[in-house]
Symmetry: C2
């Protein structure tokens, strides 16, 4: 189907306007006029189209106390227009219904069914979605879905996107969610760290920053990279494997076969090994080690100091490579960073080149454990925001 030039420009503008309120929330028409560089009558025509399609609400703001007629405020219809975001972790499944504007409307979680096969996990994810769909509002519009797969699932279970994607598409098709069944509505798959980076870049600790490194620690260490405002995932989507950047060639053997990978020095197992503990529940164990260090346990203090120094070491390498303005520490690395921030900063100051580190700030995530789900929702909304009226039935 061919599209006239006028229609093509109108669609671009509709997408730009909808993206603006999706990311920023309720926005006055006056602000939209100035930020999008369009005139008032064009903005009025665009918001009328989006309101008719049920994508936005327009309303008069509450009393501002200023003189003059208040500018009409445009808001995304978060409760009506939604996507499903899912997360597949080594021990846990999560799913959320997320409304336009990034609002989590409902969420569910479950243990991952045991076993080496992907099919039961996929069925269980679809069941979480089915459960939420039962409480979806009448007249709601489903616009797509996406799945975050953690690096530990890819490494320890070896499940490829090709193994998961078609099975998940079939399971969701059976729920009859799709406004327009077909390839374009298949669930999109991304890495958990990549999607957490996208979420923190879109509406989190690194909102509006175009060069961001998001580091995630759980059983291993992985990174999501935003460079020049876009996700950097490599040819097959496998980039960001910073946990297997070798930092200490005389260090310990890693599960990958190399020696001295970054995750052997800062990963959960390394930290607990050094603190003289066995490996109990993931995540909680790091919190316990950090707390013991804070309370003066000498083994724990030494382990945290060691890991924090290596954390700064690897961050310095990445800062020299990416010249970012934000590094965000997620998962177990959040605890480790908070416990050893001074050490991390010292290493960064010593090892990174001034030009590369001069504008970098270190952050904890704003979205916490929800970041991969929020990022998956951003993927799911991508088509709608690119061409709003083509996506809505």
């Amino acid at each position: 189907m061919s599209t006239s030039p006028q229609e093509s420009v109108r669609r671009q503008n509709l997408g730009a306007l909808l993206r603006y309120v999706h990311v920023r929330g309720a926005t006055s028409r006056a602000e939209l006029t100035s930020r999008l560089g369009l005139n008032r009558s064009t903005i009025g025509a665009l918001t009328a189209d989006l309101a008719t399609a049920g994508l936005i609400d327009e309303g008069v703001p509450q009393e501002t106390g200023r003189a003059g007629r208040p500018s009409i405020v445009v808001s995304p219809r978060s409760s009506r227009v939604y996507g499903y975001a899912m997360s597949l972790e080594l021990n846990r499944l999560r799913a959320a219904r997320i409304g336009l504007g990034g609002k989590v409307l409902a969420d569910r979680s479950a243990e991952r069914p045991p076993g080496a096969e992907a099919a039961p996990a996929v069925a269980a994810l679809a069941a979480l979605v089915a459960d939420m769909q039962r409480t979806a509002p009448a007249g709601g519009v489903f616009i797509g879905s996406a799945l975050a797969v953690s690096a530990s699932v890819r490494h320890h279970l070896g499940w490829t996107d090709e193994a998961i994607g078609p099975a998940l598409a079939a399971a969701l098709d059976a729920l009859d969610l799709q406004p327009r069944p077909g390839p374009a509505n298949r669930p999109i798959i991304g890495g958990s760290a990549d999607l957490a980076a996208l979420a923190e870049h879109t509406r989190g600790a690194a909102a509006g920053l175009d060069n961001v490194i998001y580091l995630h620690g759980d059983a291993g260490i992985s990174a999501g990279i935003i460079a020049g405002g876009r996700r950097i995932t490599g040819y097959g989507g496998h980039g960001g494997e910073v946990g297997h950047m070798v930092v200490n060639p005389s260090g310990r053997l890693c599960g990958c076969g190399s020696r001295g990978c970054w995750e052997t020095e800062i990963g959960e197992r390394a930290l607990l090994y050094l603190a003289g503990r066995a490996v109990p529940t993931p995540g909680a164990a790091v919190t316990a080690a950090v707390r013991a260090a804070r309370e003066g346990d000498p083994d724990a203090r030494s382990a945290v100091a060691h890991a924090a120094a290596w954390l700064g070491f690897g961050v310095a390498n990445l800062v020299n490579i990416f010249n970012p303005t934000a590094v965000v520490f997620g998962g177990t690395l959040r605890e480790l960073y908070l416990a050893g921030a001074d050490t991390v900063r010292d290493r960064l100051a010593t090892m990174a080149l001034p030009a590369c580190r001069d504008h970098v700030a270190l952050h904890t995530p704003a979205l916490g454990d929800d970041a991969p789900l929020v990022g998956a929702a951003e993927l799911a909304f991508e088509r709608l925001l690119a061409d709003p009226l083509d996506t809505i039935p």
Copy 2:
């Protein structure tokens, strides 16, 4: 100035067509029709506009031996439409007049004037351009200029883009090259490795590949990264400092203050230090060490084997981070890679994760030492290709 939707689409199409023949060279209208997804009459109208503007030539191809009327061939007017590309290296200045289509029409080089001030080097670069401009064809159209600055200039001389840019703009303005003086026609500045990566990605060893790591060795080691089809340079353009990725914490002190930076293990100085030689002329010295190793000199063989192993080590780290399909070894790293390719491949196979390395190929550059100049020309052509008729007077 407002542009109608039709006009905006036409300009996009003009840019896409001109970019296609700029990158691919002479192309039949039939191929353009199928590759750009436009119909024959639209292609005809676009080529007529570009021919009128003097940007392309159209002609009947030589006898093809096939039946039927041959499709008209469209070629970039390389000799008429040109930019100036410049390169600022530690010991040398270079400049070239490069025609649309990437053809080097003239080139000049000179020693860099000694001293710590940028002004004499800038004046000397402008003089190289002035010298070429005297032989430029009457009726030629200058479309812009760009400068590649090597990492060694940034590190050892500390010259910032802000120190060089305005001075170079003023020197070129004085030559009266500009079709339309103003900020948009100022020379664009990029890092040498970044621009070499752009050149190899556009028309070199990695042509058409969207995830490329270009590694350059001279006095130090730097990288140009193409990810998702775009240059990754970081917030301030300082990314790609892979020479200061620490790979061997128990290694030698580096000039940057860290210990065991990658360039202390694979850089020119390291190689010659290990081979028991002093540091003579840059570049030539590595060739000499590699030749001595090939002829059986035991110290040189050991030095080359050591450096090749560390080369593979660092490449494996970068492959895990970027999941590229091509790694290109330029400058002194070309010699080192050729001398130790098996060792590099072995290290990569052992240390990089299979998913990250499965589709990667190792290359030597197709454009050799011209790559930074060719890449600078690509930057200079960028505005023309984005909106051809707006750029031509």
